[in-house]
Amino acid sequence: MAMTYRGTSRVGRGLLAAASALMAGVASAMPAPWQLNMTPGVTETAHNAYQMHMIALWICVVIGVLVFGAMFIAIFRDRKSRGAVPATWSHNTKAEIVWTIIPIVILVSMAMPATRMLVAEADTNNAEMTIQVTGYQWKWRYQYLDYQGKPARVNFVSRLDADSDRTRQLDSGLDPHAVKADGEQAYLLNVDKPLVVPTHTKIRFVLTADDVIHAWWVPAFGWKSDAIPGIINDAWVNIEQPGIYRGQCAELCGQDHAFMPIVVIAKPKAEFEQWLAAEQASLDKAAATAQIAAPAPAAAGPQG
């Protein structure tokens, strides 16, 4: 699955092996049993997160080996039971300067790429599409504000699928392993109506909430953003490959915080446009039906 990903994946291959083996070839964002590491994801932002994660992890591993290694040498060599006689020195200015400077250099070398990534990630301009996400206790509303400069009008609520919802009740007696969707064990990671988006399109998300603070997170996209009542946040994705991407609310939002998942289906542009057209058509049809069903205001009386 890491075909499209370049960069530091070679250093992380060992740790990733378990995850990759289980996920090979599937453009899916399901976590894997016994998964050990972050996955590189399907957007630039997710690659950035993975790359900085692996850089930081390996720097920490090297420092850890050196520091703990020195400590274990002391533990084995300088034991009283081996007749070690304690030295009497209690400082060494040169060493102390060195181990203050070196960490600063390491930190700067980490901060530089991180800064470059953050600057790029903060730029939500020139999006081809805007989707508003609103968090509610405990569901998400998706409003397609515009697509390619035209109003997109589609607007729906997405909540936990019925299967998961039945199974997750206290003492339901149902087996979470039996909850499946699209051939995946999607317990608590499936919804009744997923968000559908195009691939290879810069999509701007604007996020807010109606009651308490929520956070919208799809790990494969590499970011989460709080959805806060009274505040509008924005973020963007440009998804590299079609697939089903799953996530969850990531900010404690009350009793059913664990039960408001996110599912995003990324389709190639043409397929997405078909889907959008179909949604808009059914929207028009519903509006027309509503117009016929409701008494026309003009017919209500002569003064209308």
Partner: protein
């Protein structure tokens, strides 16, 4: 000869007879220290029981034991009890016992206030824990009390806020007392830059407490008036800002993190030289590093908020400032290792806990550094990776140092040695299970499991199972420790004044158990006899 006479005399000097006089009306720093430590032990047991509920529910996917809302009450109250009832009072207890003994003072500077500082705590926690029995239950919006969610609670909001106010008053008074004691009551010759590191770290911690506890009080008071008096500080619909609470809360909350770890640094800086039989390496650098960490703790608060939608400049500033903390923290770790280097090491129980602290706290520091890097934090934030991180610094950091301190100073407090075999067993048992408990949580977070959820996808089942097994193992340790200490008190071998061969510092010059009153006449300071050696050259 002289010290023998002193024992005989001190054993009878004015120790109050009745239970009430001895424990409730006490103004003695040692007895109040004991009260704090006993209180904190009880709170660790209560908070531990709540984590037992949490880990039992998370043992398997699906909901087996509790409703989600009760689960949220457990995570919320577990944190409040462990932070404000467990870790903080434990360190205040250690300070009460040891600061006067280490600086050669007869008692704390403000003994009556000391009594009050302690006796507020049981009432505060009664108030907090009573909310579990209220209609609507205990607070369930997380210990961070973020509005608007925290305001959806019922009466428990008022109970919890008043409890936090009382804890805050207690902490502030305790901190004032510690500062007054350290600045005014040092024995002649105990210059500031000769004080033991535990005293230094507590001095700095006390200033942090005075600086930030009122900030927390302000934040929760605004919550209280938003909830009950119709104000809109944090209510967007009324022109308020829910994010303002988070800024104010974390302006308290980040220094609070260091309030819980700086005294731990102090403890470890006492234990390691003793069992290395070598002075603490880089004493002055340790003091300056502590002060530096304390200063930085005030300018990094928003790293808890990288995903709230801060402007780019804010994200960058808080990322850089947070990464900078790695420098003074690194200095400390390097200095502990250098203290052991070329020493003459033995591995009695306190030393094991101290070494465990250095390694496992450093692992928590590593994940902290990773969390500081914003592009990666966009993934880590609010996942189990964060849960793993702060339990490494708080459990294998703060708590390990507290347990190490108890084993280290126990002979001084009680005049009895504990059983080394059992102490070591306690350590190795804890190391195995605490890592089973918290290390897999890194994997869960990286695989995408959010924190604060009572149920999860089946892919997370395996590591959660391992983690719960670790938790059940850890839940045995309070009983184990209680048994070891009870056994020592009853049957332990008599301890000498200098209970450890390599122990240096004033506290080891008084008899064991330390008499009710010590240093009624100031001791004379021998620079070479301090734990960190003679630092005047």
């Amino acid at each position: 000869m002289a010290s023998h006479a002193a024992v005989h005399h001190d054993a009878h000097d004015h120790k109050p007879e009745g239970f009430l006089d001895r424990w409730v009306f006490t103004t003695n720093h040692k007895d109040i220290g004991t009260l704090y430590l006993v209180f904190s032990f009880i709170m660790f047991c209560i908070g531990g029981a709540m984590s037992g509920v949490i880990r039992a529910e998370l043992l398997k996917p699906g909901m087996q034991f509790v409703q989600p809302y009760f689960f949220n009450q457990m995570t919320t109250v577990h944190a409040l009890v462990m932070i404000f009832g467990g870790v903080m009072p434990a360190f205040v207890g250690l300070a009460n016992w040891m600061v006067p003994l280490m600086i050669g003072a007869p008692d704390m500077a403000l003994p009556r206030m000391n009594n009050w500082s302690f006796w507020i705590m049981p009432f505060a926690f009664t108030l907090l824990l009573l909310t579990l029995f209220l209609p609507g239950g205990a607070p369930a919006g997380g210990w961070t009390l973020y509005p608007p969610l925290s305001l959806q609670g019922g009466y428990s909001v008022a109970f919890a806020i008043l409890a936090i106010h009382m804890m805050g008053i207690s902490s502030i008074m305790g901190a004032i007392n510690i500062i007054a004691t350290i600045l005014n009551m040092r024995a002649p010759g105990m210059d500031l830059l000769k004080m033991p590191l535990f005293v230094w770290t507590w001095l700095i911690t006390a200033f942090l407490l005075i600086a930030v506890m009122p900030v927390l009080a302000g934040a929760v008071t605004m919550l209280l008036t938003d909830k009950f008096f119709g104000t809109s500080f944090f209510n967007a619909a009324g022109g308020g800002d829910p994010l303002m609470f988070q800024h104010i809360f974390w302006f308290f909350g980040h220094p609070e993190v260091y309030i819980m770890i700086l005294p731990a640094f102090g403890v470890v800086s006492e234990i390691i030289p003793t069992f290395s039989r070598k002075p603490l390496f880089g004493y002055q650098a340790m003091v300056y590093a502590t002060a530096c960490i304390a200063f930085l703790s005030f300018i990094v608060w928003a790293h808890h908020m990288f995903t709230v939608g801060m402007p780019l400049g804010g994200e960058l500033f808080f990322m850089y400032a947070t990464m900078l903390i790695a420098v003074p923290t690194g200095v400390k770790v390097f200095n502990w290792v250098s203290t052991m280097w070329k020493g003459s090491l033995t591995f009695e129980t306190p030393m094991l806990w101290a070494i465990g602290f250095v390694i496992l706290f450093t692992i928590g520091g590593f994940s902290g550094l990773m969390l500081a890097i914003v592009p990666a934090d966009f993934q880590y934030h609010d996942t189990y990776f964060v849960v793993a991180h702060f339990h490494y610094v708080l459990v294998t950091g703060a708590l390990f140092s507290i347990i190490g301190a108890v084993y280290y100073w126990w002979p001084k407090w009680t005049g009895r040695q504990y059983d080394e075999r059992w102490g070591k067993f306690h350590f190795w048992w804890s190391v195995v299970f605490v890592n089973l408990l918290f290390f897999p949580q890194h994997f869960l977070g990286l695989a995408g499991m959010p924190r604060r959820i009572p149920d999860y996808n089946v892919a997370f089942a395996d590591w959660n199972f391992v983690s719960s097994i670790g938790a059940f193992g850890m839940l045995c340790t309070p009983a184990m420790m209680f048994f070891i200490l009870w056994h020592s008190k009853k049957y332990g071998a008599k301890a000498e004044a200098r209970s450890w061969e390599g122990a240096r510092g004033l506290e080891w010059t008084v008899p064991s158990p330390a008499p009710h009153h010590t240093f009624t006449t100031p001791p004379s300071i021998d620079d070479g006899a301090l734990a960190h050696g003679n630092v005047t050259h």
